[in-house]
């Protein structure tokens, strides 16, 4: 049981390049989330998904796209990276019901630098 995994762990991009971050969970969770964490700003929600095939915008969605083609995977894409997207990205998942349903389980993070 690996929990929530993220690939890659580190990445350096040049401005204008594109990339995709992959999140996978093996807990059969319905809900999945992408956050970014910047110094002094806590975690900010980028996009989230309440089930396979569905996605929704969070607090800071501009410049990012997501897809949830399979229940266990949630992809975050940057079409044209900008230095402002330098951050640590966390994926999380949670159940949709039941006791402590909203406890989110986090992946180890991806440190992205855009030059």
């Amino acid at each position: 049981n690996a929990g929530v995994t993220q690939t890659p762990k580190f990445r350096v991009l040049k401005t204008g390049q594109s990339m995709t971050l992959l999140c996978a969970q093996d807990m059969n969770h319905e809900y999945m989330y992408w956050y970014r964490q910047d110094p002094g700003m806590g975690l900010r929600l980028i996009h989230y998904s309440v089930g396979e095939g569905t996605t929704a915008k969070g607090e800071v969605p501009d410049g990012y796209n997501v897809s949830r083609l399979k229940k266990q995977n949630f992809l975050l894409g940057l079409e044209s990276a900008a230095p402002s997207q330098t951050s640590v990205y966390f994926c999380a998942s949670s159940r949709s019901s039941g006791r402590a349903y909203n406890e989110q389980f986090f992946g180890p993070g991806t440190r992205l630098t855009v030059l």
């Binding site: 002094g40 806590g42 900010r44 989230y48 966390f90 949670s94």
Partner: protein, 114 residues
Amino acid sequence: EDKVVQSPLSLVVHEGDTVTLNCSYEVTNFRSLLWYKQEKKAPTFLFMLTSSGIEKKSGRLSSILDKKELFSILNITATQTGDSAVYLCAVEGAGGTSYGKLTFGQGTILTVHP
């Protein structure tokens, strides 16, 4: 817009001290408040609080929620160097598109010196 504010932003103490971390919030249709501990990598869950006035306790850590005054505190007694971390507070609003979504505070950086 849901809002969570934590204080202090950073705190430096010595082993054995007791610390109190604060979290105040404004949220539409409050459902729950969660505390997370973040060391080097991913945040890990500590407590979830839904009812006012009921203390949650785990070893030297405890937390309580005041739904009338819209805040929560996290207490750590007899601190150890292993308690050094960022402590995150998050709240969940109920209903509509906010269901299941957490709004996080900025975090409190706790440093415990030997």
